[in-house]
């Protein structure tokens, strides 16, 4: 009952946040000095053509009119222009790329599986390896395993993603020839190829992020293991494994899980560098291309979609937090 009310109130919050984000991105991108009508005007760009393009794109309206049309399009769909050359963008319409002749919604939906495959796999890998590494380091702190893991972690934290990615491609792709050097195979076409193509981007992303998770897990666990309840667990006669895993780690993971939710939400909005390095056509690559082309509608669409994912991730984190920490439920 209370959980249901919490979820509802948080979802209302998400809608409000998205509205604000929409307004801000709209203001930034649409009121910039760049002129979308000029870009889609064609050659030769006569004043009549320009006016027609403006009207077609809805740019003849005042800014609040444009904003309203944009919002209305998300809910009801939108039609650009009139008559025979009218372009219909069905609801939810997050804009239309006149350069690619595709609705932004469709672009995002075709690119999202690529990004999601990269993000979810990499996140699972870095969570498991980071937590495992951090736990080992905490249990054997100031001993050889701790030093080794923390050395690798510092290397991970300080490595740029493109460098790690290219080194992996060089080693496993070219020198050893074990794995494909780039590209994406849909899971539905060939699960094995899907897996093989994703292995390097997963590893590259996980190497960097798991370092952060290892450090966080280590410091949290070291702190927890010094607390009174851990002494109680030992005084009960529990073995060291149960003390560390069931009590120490269970408590140490609470902040780690929070960070994980937010990181995953962010990454789902586009793994820009990794997608570029491994030539994968995900959201990040789409965003980069759109910026290069000044395809404003696509940029706004992706920005909104990323904001949506992060807002949702926040809600999920809050709910999970309540589930794993009974003290939060009471508050």
């Amino acid at each position: 009952m209370r959980i249901a009310r919490l979820v509802t109130s948080r979802l209302v919050g998400v809608v409000l946040v998205l509205l604000v984000v929409t307004a801000i991105t709209f203001v930034i991108f649409y009121l910039l000095p760049s002129n979308p009508a000029q870009l889609s005007c064609g050659k030769p760009c006569t004043p009549e053509n320009l006016a027609r393009a403006k009207q077609f794109l809805g740019l003849d309206l005042p800014w609040y009119g444009q904003f309203w049309e944009f919002l209305r399009g998300i809910v009801m769909g939108r039609t650009f222009g009139t008559g025979a050359d009218a372009i219909v963008c069905n609801a939810p319409c997050f804009g239309y790329s006149f350069q690619l002749n595709t609705p932004v919604t469709e672009l995002i939906l075709t690119r999202f599986p690529v990004t999601a495959s990269i993000a979810v796999g990499a996140a699972a890998l870095w969570f498991v390896s980071g937590v495992a590494g951090g736990t080992i380091a905490a249990v054997w702190r100031r001993k050889a395993p701790d030093r080794a893991i923390m050395t690798v972690a510092i290397a991970g934290v300080s490595s740029p993603a493109y460098l790690v990615g290219m080194l992996l491609i060089l080693l496993f792709g070219f020198t050893l020839g074990w794995l494909p050097t780039g590209g994406y195979e849909p899971f539905g076409d060939d699960p094995v190829q899907w897996f093989l193509h994703l292995l390097l981007p997963w590893t590259a992303l996980a190497f960097i992020s798991s370092a952060v998770y290892a450090r966080l897990t280590r410091s949290e666990l070291v702190e927890q293991l010094g607390l009174d309840y851990v002494r109680t667990a030992r005084a009960k006669g529990l073995g060291e494994g149960a003390v560390v895993m069931r009590h120490g780690l269970r408590n140490a993971l609470i902040p780690v899980v929070t960070l994980f939710g937010l990181d995953l939400g962010t990454l789902l909005g586009g793994a820009v560098i990794s997608e570029r390095v491994f030539s994968m056509q995900g959201l990040g690559a789409l965003l980069l291309d759109s910026i290069g082309r000044l395809d404003l509608q696509v940029i706004v669409g992706i920005t909104l979609f990323s904001a949506f994912l992060i807002a949702i991730a926040n809600v999920v984190v809050d709910i999970v937090y309540g589930l794993i920490d009974p003290r939060v439920r009471a508050a």
Partner: protein, 556 residues
Amino acid sequence: MSPADVTPVLSVRDLSVSFGGSGEADRVVDSVGFDLAPGRVLALVGESGSGKSVTAMSVLGLLPETARVSGSVRLDGRELVGAASAELRAVRGGRIGTVFQEPMSAFDPVYPIGRQIAEAIRVHRRGLRGAALRARVRELLTSVGLPDAARIAASHPHELSGGQLQRAMIAMALSCDPVAIIADEPTTALDVTVQAGILDLLRTLRDTRGTAILLITHDMGVVADLADDVIVMRQGVIVESGAVAAVFDSPASEYTRELLAAVPSLGALGDATEVATPRSGADASPVVVLDGASVAFRRRGTAVRAVDGASFAIGRGEVVGLVGESGSGKSTIGRALVGLVPVASGHASVAGVELGAAGRRERRRVRSRIGYVFQDPASSLNPRNTIGTSIAEPLLLHTAQSAAERTARVRELLAQVRLPADFARRYPHELSGGQRQRVAIARALALEPELLIADEPTSALDVSVQASVLELLEELQRRHGFACLFISHDLAVVRRLADRVVVLHRGRVVEQGPAAAVLAAPAEAYTRRLLAAAPVADPEAQAARRELWRELEAVR
């Protein structure tokens, strides 16, 4: 020390523990030996750093890896020093149960209590599971005086009170029918009325189950109440041991005598012969006036009154002791007087300024007239600032003094709290607890306040240190004549310092009057219960108080 005809369950011989380096200097426990007999309570007493807890933890093999232990600890004849870890785990929780100090932090916050007790059982009794295990948990909880066992078992630690948690902790310690229980400061974090119940429960365990109890405590009152035998430790060495009555009656060592003398005394109940003479004109223009003042907090949507219609006054130069248990609202009153929490209804005025009506600037001026000393000096002093900076901060905020003037004033204040002038350049971590609290007092006095609020200023200190800090406060009060609101749960400390006492219970003032009168012949039932529950450091007197407490509890 224990009767010769009883075989001890636990024999400790020549036990030494040292940390880090090598050599005698690092020894925190030095050649300690004692016997713990079934059905007896042996108390290890001492101040912080005496090695009493380290001694107890070395019995369980629960010291940090850096500890080096030598000597012998035999449980039922089996040697535990150097035993294999599997053998030690079988002892922990199986043969020896443990009860720790802070029940709030001694349980894992994420699991229900029942599950944590069940876990302790499962370690040693693998066969027990399912409904039988749950029934055993409920039976244990009921046996320690928690009749609502099913609800307690399903609750998380934050949902229960300190007393309930400590009972649950004792239930967990008993779960595998241990021959001995180690109770490490089992009541230190609890209110006196709750403490009396827990001590009674431990006594019942000793008498009915014949469990041997090793009690670690710094509180001579607790020793007098519960222990049969006592060992006094100081800096890792046993300075005295013997039966409780004998040691309290005629302590052999100088240190034990000092320790007993440092414990503030509460006097006998019903003895109102000492009548305090009010120090100065208590009713002429009081510094603090509370008239029907209430402070409310919102908790889960509903308003909770932390202070409910409190009325009392503090006259110029008067020391008023505000006593009550945790949650009684005593600290909230102190916070309300400096404007840290708003007064919801009623009147509160300090130095003639009505707090509710005062503007921002006026409230700020009022604060400059109040000095505040908090309980834990380790956390109330900024660790990154030098002592001198901390003491000078009020001067910097409220006066236009030059740096040289401030330095001179800091020197003067340090001298007043009897600390050397060069302490100004030190940092809090370089000082002992008592020295830090002196610094906190110096800071509170920097602006020569009309009112000093001292919120449990000695609760975190050892008794001998407490005695010297109280003496200092008394002397400074006499010299400067400030009014003082002395907030404490410790009735004996209040009796020593306060002219008048205000007793607070659940946010309401239940009784007030001259300290000697209220604390010797209380008019209200709650004050009587509170007084009867507070243990005194005298086994005979304490036995009488215990009886009185039982009678009062019975008629509740």
